[in-house]
Subunit: 240 residues, 2 copies
DNA sequence: CAAAAATCTGCGGGATCCCGCAAGACGGAA
DNA sequence: TTCCGTCTTGCGGGATCCCGCAGATTTTTG
């Protein structure tokens, strides 16, 4: 068995290396990559079917790398090993995992044993292992309560990119009013309804910008999500 | 000599611990803290005058912690040890360093030797040590060319928070028109002047939101900066 | 299948935003 | 002092945004 480690931090990389060696004695070769770009290339060349990957890397973060890797070989087993359980990451990952694929999401704060157990479960047993904290995020994300619909999330990303209502309407094939409708719902769910000063002209917010900020502070958005969205927007603009 | 280490990642923490031991044989006690809140408390209790600190922590990031520590004892020597040289971080740090204080900013990607050298320079020689990459960011940040004035940065933060023009005017004691004036300058410097489609109604941007996004992508803003700004806004709102 | 809920859409209006024009205020350089 | 650049402020107008109202369409539910 071969294992590919994709992680930009040298300390974490060597820690992972040791963990893999210890947890998987049947593994005869461990390869390392220090970012998403290199990781993709090596995965392709060595046909690695077992990958441990960080999410926050540059250039090319874990989600982008995983997407192209899974597109080429969907049976690849990937364990995401990240510092954070931001909703943006969780959403990003579950959007790209192929049907029936075995994958995992373990936080770096997890114990040694948990990491090793996850490695064996995913790579040997082909079982999914999702950190309970991440699982909680997933359910909150998908469930109705306090959760955001895909369409709401979509429009959140669109205004975060700085598109006008009209541009969003064109991009999503909607009427202008529908876009504004979704925006209203978004504002409501984010709770950005001029909350502090009800009737005064005081401290009023620009709802559009405020929504983006609140989403950021709640980790519904993060840098990596913005980066991806910006790239997608660029592609779309190119095709007009 | 006592050294306090404030760093949330256990691996990095123990690495730092070893580096301090190796670089500073005259150091007889090393204390560790895993976030800014704890770091502040320990710094106060133990009157630590020598601190190595990460920037990105939660709760309470390095900049916030450093600010209160320096406010209490400005002669404290702090070495910031961070993954990133985001302009937001660099700006945040140089905004709070007291006059004449010895401090440092070293990237985690720096070599072992560089870190140890920085430790000795700052803690023994009371000399400032700024990573050359960070230094470059500083100059770009302060210089005219491609750099942002304090007032421009200020208004950038304000719209990022989601304030309306009127609210900004009140907060900064300006007329409405002046606020809009500064915004124009900001848009120009960020290059968000409906660049792609000059006259078409196509792909137009909402300048206000777009400016925030571009600033984010350029790392002029980041999560930590937003967090701080949000806290400051909260304070200001409380005092009306 | 029918009722209910959610979503999409047009219309219209008040608030806000973006910005050109132009007049004053302030400070440094000739 | 005078001149010039930068910053500030007022006025005004066109574009955009936010949203209530109401009808049409789609989806869900019983």
């Amino acid at each position: 068995m071969k294992v590919l480690i994709v992680e930009d931090d040298p300390l974490h990389r060597s820690y992972l290396h040791e963990a893999v060696r210890a947890a998987l004695p049947e593994c005869d070769s461990v390869i390392e990559a220090e970012n998403g770009t290199v990781g993709e290339r090596i995965a392709r060349e060595y046909k690695s079917a077992h990958i441990v990957m960080d999410l926050q890397m540059s250039p090319r973060n874990g989600i982008e790398a995983a997407r192209t890797i899974w597109k080429e070989r969907p049976e690849t087993r990937i364990l995401f090993w990240s510092n954070y359980s931001d909703e943006a990451y969780v959403r990003g990952v579950s959007r790209i995992v192929p049907d029936g694929a075995a994958y995992g999401y373990v936080l770096k704060s997890a114990s040694d044993d948990r990491l090793k157990l996850a490695l064996r479960s995913i790579f040997i047993e082909a079982q999914c292992v999702i950190d309970r904290e991440v699982r909680g995020m997933q359910q909150k994300s998908l469930g109705q309560t306090n959760g955001f619909t895909d369409s709401e999330y979509e429009i959140l990303v669109d205004i975060a990119l700085g598109l006008t209502d009209r541009a969003i309407a064109r991009r999503r094939n909607l009427s202008l009013r529908s876009v504004q409708n979704r925006l209203q719902h978004l504002y409501e769910k984010l709770g950005v309804h001029h909350p502090s000063m009800p009737e005064h002209e005081e401290g009023r917010f620009n709802l559009r910008s405020r929504a983006v900020t609140v989403a950021f502070l709640r980790k519904l958005l993060n840098y990596s999500a913005l980066e991806r969205a910006e790239a997608e927007l660029g592609e779309w603009l190119r095709t007009r």
